[in-house]
Every structure is written in C-alpha cells, then in structure tokens.
Symmetry: C2
Subunit: 302 residues, 2 copies
C-alpha cells in the first residue's frame, strides 16, 4: 500500500445487480475498471451509493473476494465496512485486510442515536483491537444526515492520540465546509475528503485530500482534470461546470438517479436493477434528469 | 399461536452478556422467565433495548435457538427481525418462524433516509415473499427518532390491503399519541402498542393493544396491574405512579440505565456488561437514578 496514492478523486462505486437483485460481479469489475480509466484515482467499494447497507455481510465478503483476488488495483480501493454491530464491522474489516487495500471507510455503529463519544471510542477501539493489523487504515465515514451519528472533533483527536495514523482520514459527507476546514486545520496529515466534488477545488486549496463522491461514478473525468491541474491552472470554470452537473443529480435520490442514467447511457437496462428501498426513477423523473444533463451537455464517455 | 393473547404488557427484554460481551444465554432465559412471572404478558426479543442492533445475524439466530427450543412460552414472544439489508430481515424472520412465536417486530430498512413509500412497500413485499409463511405476523416497528424511517398511515393501509392480517400491528415508539389514535381509528383489528407504558391506560381506553416498552423490564408488575384492572377500577393513580417511574428512567439512556439498575437490584455486576456504543452509567449517574427511584419507593421484586 502506497499511502501517498490515497488522494484525489474517488468514486463510491455503484453495485450492478442482476434481474433477481443478486450481485453482477462481472459488471462490477467492469465498472470499476472504467471508473479508473475515466479519471478516478480510487474507488470506494460499499459506500452509501453502492447500496452497501442493502447487502448482507456474506454478500459483501463474496464481492471483496470476487473483485480483489488477483486484482492489480486493490491498493486503489477503500472498502466500506461500518455496520451497526461491531462484530460485523470487525468481520468485514478483517476480510478486506486480506488484500492490499488502501483502507476501509467505516461508519460508526449507526442504529443507536445520541450516544456518547466515550461509547463511540469504545466501539472503534473494539474494531482496531478485533482486526489487530498494523497496516489497518481507517477512514471515518462522517455522514450525520444518513447515519444520525456524527464524529466530533474531540473524538477524532482522541482516535489520533491513541492510534496515530491507523485513523488515516475522513470522508465528510456533512456538506458543512467549515467542518472540513476545521479538521484539516486541527489534524495535520489526516486526509480529509469532501463527500461531494462540488467542494473539490475548495478543499484542495486548503490542504484537503480530494473527494469521495456518489456522482463521480459519472463525473470522474471532469473532476480528475481539476485534481490534476488545479495547482498550475485556473480551474474555477471547470469547477463551476462540475458543480452544475452534481446539482442536477442532487435533484433526485442518488442511487436511482445514477443507475437510471447509466442504463440510458449504456443502453443496458440491467443498470436499473436496485434493491428496495430504492426503485428506478419514474419515466418523468428519468426524462427530467436526462434533460438537465443534456442542458449541461454532459455525458460521460462510457 | 393464539393471536388473542398478543396484547397487554410486553417488555423489550434486555440481553444479558458475559464479561467478554458474548451472550449469556442462561441469564437471558432466566430474565425472560422472570419478566413473565413479574406480570408481563409477553416479551419482545431483539428490540432496541435488547441491543439487537449490536448483535450479528448469526448471534441472533443462535439466541433464538437457545431460547426457543422446547420453550413453552414461544407464543408469548415477538422477535425483532428488521435489519438494514432485506436479505438479513428475511433470513432472521424465517429463523424465528421455525418456532411458534407470536410474531416478528420489524424495523424498516433503516440506513437510507427519505425513501419513498413505494420503496418501503417493495422492501416489505420482499420480506413477505421471501419468508413465504401463511402464519407470519409482522408488527411494524415505528421509531422515527431512532430509525429515521417512519411508517406513514398510507403505507400501513397499503400493507393491510395487500396482505391483510400478515401485518398484525405496530409498536409506536414515536411518542406521538395522536399517531397511535389515528392508527387505531383507521385500522380496526390492527394491534397498536404504545412504545411506552406512560400511555398504557390512555391507549387501552381507545382500543389499543397495550404497550411494548424498554422500562417494563423493571415496571412489568405495576403495568400489568393496570392492564388487568383498567376496565373495572380507576387506575389513574397507578398510572401516574407508573409514569413517574418511567420518567425517572427517561433521564438516562435506557440500556445503561436499566442494566445498571438490574446490577444494583440483583447485586450482580454481570448486568453491567453491554456492547459499545453503550457503556454503564457513571458512578454519579447511577447514584442519581437510584435516588430518583428510591424517592418513588420503586424496586422490582427480583
């Protein structure tokens, strides 16, 4: 694992499924290869957008094996492993650690709300001890609106004091740029990824690591151009365009929106397969999103 | 399964654990027997209070087997089976259905928020089809503050229209008595349990089924007296006392509060074993709760 590589534009990959909603392993590997070819520096497997929380632990372990055995790009993958039950988080994280992955992206135990920092520390302590790997690199998944369980700055400080770079960074999906700023300022070396490419240029300018995003499943090449050139060129126009595309997707739930557009772009309806509680966009929604993206002349090179 | 019995006072049982936080199956069976002896009409296994969401699916299946094999009170149990992944919910529900349980208490898939009623219907449709048992009785677990995913009246109506009494009732932990009222009024025969015994008398008076509560782990005998006598006697004083005890517990997180008090009452510190993100009450918190309960002269007959 070359840690220097863990920065830039990451896509939280979609999970292609068959008609019976079982995993289409081949299509997933194909999509991941395309994401990297389309400009992404890395991939998060099992993020929110990957329908990770609609997959059983056994399914996730099988996907890890199918995708990572003999995979030359394992080190460009961060694997989502955070479950409600710490026992499941340990199990999945150990499984991911069989491969030379860049790290794991870990939600806090997210069913119980209003829990104390002491309790969250104990949960992550149990994960670190349970995994027991010196090369474990945890990226905290801070997504208060979805998980209902935020990571406070005090808690992150405590993780870093106790475990150093085992706590390698964070994906901040709060949408709160002030929080990203505060983490970058407080914790040198801690990699702060914005949860949306709308903040890509902004976060790079203040020392952030990049972005990990749902919509970079489609916008990877636009985002990657900004990441490659932001230090030498004025990328504000490119960022404005990228942000507009992101905003178009934000008008719809991400998983249905992205899968629906993938189906349109590839003319392959298998992309419409998704697990409840998600359903494909309605015909109207789908046409609306297509129109918004057409108006921006946006279409990825699939 | 005698469905008429599924009413009254249910406790969402605590889950006793050993020092290494593995399940203490014997202590759990003992506690369940005591709950029934202490006045509870039934038990919810794997509710929020049971730390269900800190247990793996495999652990829950083992607990079901250990507790229910040859168990004469299986029909007084409702088993919590709602997971984030529908696949897990089906797996657990099928497992519970091996025994003559009264029903299952099922959270919606609770990671993804702001999902549509269509999506939630599809999720429960997949559960009903996946379990495929004519005697399946689902109690919906409506707990918006914890799950972040409420059940609307429209959705419940759709469940009932499509599947009749497979959708047998609801545990309403919203704290919103108007919502309980509305369900009782709209859906005759649908069993509405209040999520707190503070509403026990109120909900019985309007045709509700009873309560399913965390704190009836301690208050079962008080609550059961109200349930047995409310039609013939004035139970408003008993209800006021019961509500006061409930309120004392509400000043603390339920799992730490209840386990800490069980440890004090039984003089058995094994009750202090709980999984992160929960930790025992501090010494001060513990003394404070004890004082509040002492002031009410409350102590269960353990």
């Amino acid at each position: 694992m070359d840690e220097k590589k863990t920065r830039g534009v990451f896509a939280a990959t979609l999970t292609p499924m068959k008609t019976d909603l079982s995993i289409d392993h081949e299509a997933l590997a194909r999509h991941c290869r395309w994401l990297l070819k389309n400009g992404c520096d890395g991939i998060v497997l099992f993020g929110t957008t990957g329908e990770a929380n609609s997959l059983t632990v056994a399914e996730r372990k099988e996907i890890i094996d199918m995708l990572l055995e003999g995979n030359p790009f394992a080190e460009r993958l961060i694997v989502g492993t955070g479950c409600c039950a710490v026992g499941d988080t340990v199990d999945l994280t150990r499984h991911a650690q069989r491969y030379p992955v860049a790290g794991v992206l870990t939600l806090p135990p997210f069913y119980y709300k209003n829990v104390s920092d002491d309790g969250l520390f104990a949960a992550f302590d149990a994960v670190v001890q349970g995994v027991g790997a010196a090369d474990l690199r945890i990226y905290l998944y801070h997504f208060p609106k979805m998980s209902g369980v935020p990571f406070s700055l005090n808690l992150i400080e405590r993780f870093l004091k106790s475990y150093g770079n085992t706590f390698a960074g964070v994906k901040d999906s709060s949408g709160d740029f002030e929080n990203m700023k505060a983490m970058i300022k407080a914790f040198p070396g801690f990699r702060v990824f914005a949860g949306t490419e709308a903040y890509l240029l902004d976060i790079l300018r203040i020392g952030g690591a990049g972005c990990i995003s749902a919509t970079t499943n489609a916008t990877g090449s636009l985002a990657s151009e900004i990441f490659r050139r932001w230090e030498s060129d004025d990328m504000s126009e490119a960022q404005a365009r990228l942000t507009s595309v992101r905003k178009a997707f934000e008008a719809f739930p991400f998983i249905p929106g992205l899968k629906t557009m993938m189906a349109r772009w590839t003319e392959n309806d298998a992309w419409l397969n998704m697990r409840p509680p998600f359903l494909p966009l309605t015909r109207e929604g789908s046409a609306d999103l297509q129109e918004r993206l057409n108006a921006l002349h946006f279409r990825p090179n699939l």
